[in-house]
Symmetry: C2
Subunit: 345 residues, 2 copies
C-alpha cells in the first residue's frame, strides 16, 4: 500500500452506488467497511459463512474495518457504558446489543478484514476534561484487551488515539496507545465540529508524535483542503463519506472548488463537470445531463456523481504522494490552494 492514501467508505460492504471494479479503477487499493453496521446487517456470521468480506462483496483489494465505537456513540443509541463494554440499541430496529473489546475483535476476525481497528470510547466533542480523560483511560484499557485477543493470520491491528483539541490530552494518549503497540495508529475525534484551522493546528502539533515507521490514519476526514493540510502534517491514511455522500446530494468537486449540480445555470451546459478531470463521468457526460438526472432522481446520477467525486479525492491524494516523492509538496500545496476560486457551498 502506497501512502498517503484515501480509502473510499463501504460501510455496509458496498461503496454506495459503485461496483468493486469501479472502485478498483479509481484507482483505490483499500476501502473501509464498518464492523458495527455489518454486525447488525447481515451479521458477521453470515459474511463468514459466505467466505468472508472480500468474497462476499467481490473486492480483491485491502479492507480496513472500523470497530464501530464511533457509530455507537455518535448514533446516540448508547444505553450503558462501563469498563466491560457498551450496551446499545440497533439504529435499524431498536434491538439491544452489547459490544466489548473481545467481541469487536472477534467480529472483525469473522469479517476477515486486512486491518482491524480497536474498540474505542469516543467522548462527545463538548465533554468536560475529566470525562474526556476518563474515556481516554478506558480506551487505553480496551486497547490492551484488543491486543490480547487471538490474532487472525494476515490481519493488522490499529490503535486509536482520542483527546479532542486538547493537545496535552492528545500527547498523553498517544504515549499510552503507542506503548500498547500496534501496526498503525489512528487519530479519532477530529472533524466533529471544530474549524478546519483548529484541526490543522492540532494535527501540526501532534501527528509527528505518532511513530514514523507505522501508518498514521486520520479517521473521518476527506474534505480536499483538510486532506492537503493533514498530509502536510504527516498523515498517511484517510477515510470519509463526504465524496460519496456529497455526490448523491448534488455537490461535485472540481479543482476550482465545489459546484452544486442543481444550479439552473447548468440546465443546458454541454461541458463536463471538470474539463481537466480524467474520470469516466467527465469523459462522457455533460453538466446538463447530470443536472437532468439529478432533478429526476435517477440512480445513474448517483453513480456518475460518486465516480467523479471519488476520482477527484483519490487523485488529489495520489498527486500529493507524487509531489512528496518528487520533493515538491510545498509547491503542490501552494498551487492547490491558489486554484480554488469557486465554491457553490
Amino acid at each position: 500500500m502506497q501512502t498517503p492514501v484515501f480509502m473510499p467508505v463501504g460501510t455496509l460492504a458496498t461503496v454506495k452506488a459503485m461496483t468493486p471494479q469501479e472502485v478498483a479503477a479509481l484507482p483505490a487499493s483499500i476501502l473501509l467497511c464498518n464492523a458495527y453496521h455489518l454486525m447488525l446487517r447481515p451479521g458477521s456470521e453470515i459474511v463468514a459463512r459466505c467466505g468472508g468480506l472480500h468474497r462476499f462483496m467481490g473486492w480483491s483489494g485491502l479492507i480496513l474495518t472500523d470497530s464501530g465505537g464511533f457509530q455507537i456513540f455518535s448514533l446516540r443509541q448508547l444505553m450503558r457504558i462501563d469498563d466491560q463494554g457498551v450496551a446499545f440499541r440497533s439504529h435499524v430496529d431498536g434491538s439491544a446489543h452489547t459490544l466489548d473489546p473481545e467481541r469487536a475483535m472477534a467480529v472483525q476476525a469473522e469479517l476477515g478484514s486486512d486491518i482491524a481497528m480497536v474498540l474505542d470510547h469516543c467522548p462527545p466533542s463538548d465533554a468536560p476534561r475529566d470525562q474526556v480523560l476518563d474515556a481516554l483511560q478506558r480506551t487505553t484499557r480496551w486497547a490492551k484487551r484488543c491486543v490480547d485477543q487471538p490474532r487472525p493470520a494476515h490481519q493488522a491491528r490499529f490503535g486509536i488515539v482520542q483527546g479532542g483539541l486538547d493537545l496535552d490530552l492528545r500527547r498523553q494518549h498517544i504515549a499510552q496507545i503507542v506503548e500498547v503497540g500496534f501496526d498503525g495508529y489512528a487519530l479519532g475525534g477530529f472533524s466533529v465540529g471544530e474549524s478546519p484551522e483548529q484541526m490543522a493546528e492540532a494535527l501540526d502539533a501532534v501527528a509527528h508524535l505518532l511513530p514514523a515507521d507505522r501508518p498514521r490514519y486520520l479517521m473521518g476526514v476527506g474534505r480536499a483542503e483538510d486532506l492537503v493540510r493533514a498530509i502536510s502534517a504527516g498523515i498517511d491514511m484517510f477515510d470519509c463519506v463526504m465524496p460519496t455522500r456529497n455526490a448523491r446530494n448534488g455537490q461535485l468537486f472540481t479543482s476550482r472548488g465545489r459546484i452544486v449540480i442543481s444550479n439552473a445555470r447548468f440546465r443546458d451546459d454541454p461541458e463536463p463537470v471538470d474539463a481537466a478531470c480524467a474520470c469516466p463521468t467527465c469523459q462522457t457526460y455533460s453538466r446538463a445531463y447530470l443536472r437532468h438526472l439529478y432533478v429526476c432522481k435517477e440512480i445513474l446520477y448517483s453513480r456518475l456523481a460518486t465516480i467523479h467525486n471519488l476520482h477527484y479525492t483519490v487523485d488529489l491524494v495520489r498527486q500529493a504522494r507524487l509531489a512528496i516523492a518528487a520533493g515538491n509538496f510545498a509547491e503542490f500545496e501552494r498551487r492547490f490552494f491558489a486554484a480554488r476560486v469557486q465554491d457553490d457551498e
Copy 2:
C-alpha cells in the same frame, strides 16, 4: 437491427440504474425513450441544444421514442381531448401543456430518435365500443397528420393500432393504419389488465395481418411467458419496464421462474441468482449478498438486479431469434414452458 428484439426502457434518457455501456453489453442494440417525459424534463429544446438524445445520454445504438399518448391517457392528467389534440397537466408540477400530432413529431425530431411513434388516442380498456371506435378514428386522422409533417433524415416512423380485445375493431384499425403507410406498425392497448391468455389469443388472431415486410411492435409487453407467446404470433419488437422495475422491487427472473430476493431462505445462500446465467451479476455475486444489499436499500442492489433481469429478458428474445433461424422455435417454446417450475409471485 435483428428481430425479434427487446428494447430496454430508458424513459428519461437513462435505463434506470444502468450506464449506456452496460446496456450495450447485454447486448442491446435499441432502447426506448419517452417523448412525453423528455418534453417535460429536461425539455426537448435542451436535448437538441446538447446535440440530440444520443449524445445527451451517451448512447450510440438506436433509439425509439414513444410519443407519449399512452402516458397522457394513463397518468390521468388529461384535461381535454378533441380532434386538434390533447391538453394535459404535467405529472411533475401540474403545469398545463398541449400536444397534437404536429407537436409530437416536432418533439421527436428535436430529440433526434431513430424511430418516432405517432400520437395516438388510447381509450380506457373498459370503454364502451362507440368510445373505442371514436378513439380509433381519431388515431387514424392523427396518423395522417403525423406523416404529413417534415421527416427528419434517417428517422423512421411507426403507426399505432388500437382496438383492445375486440378483434373486429383491431382488424378495421390495422387496415386503416396500414393504408396511411408507415415504416413499422405497433400494437398498443395490450397488457393493460387482460389475462395472458386473452392477449395471446388476440395476438394469434391479428398480428399476422400486419405487413410481413415491416417490423411488428407489441408495446409495453415484457413478461417472459408473454414474450415467447407473442413471438410465436409473429411479433418482432418489444419494450417493457417490467425487467427494470421488478428488479428494483426485489423480483428476479430465472429460467425456472421468478424469485423474491428478500425471502429469508436466501440469507446465507452462496449461490448466484441463476447458476445457468452468464450475466455479470451471476458471475460474481451471491443471493446472500444481493439480499443484504436489497434489505439495506443499497443502490448497488438496483444496479446488479437490473443488469440480471435485463440480461435475462434480452437473452430470452435472442434465444428465440436463434431458434427461429434454426427452424426449431416450437421446440424452444415447449422447453421454455416446461422449465418454469418455481415462482415466488
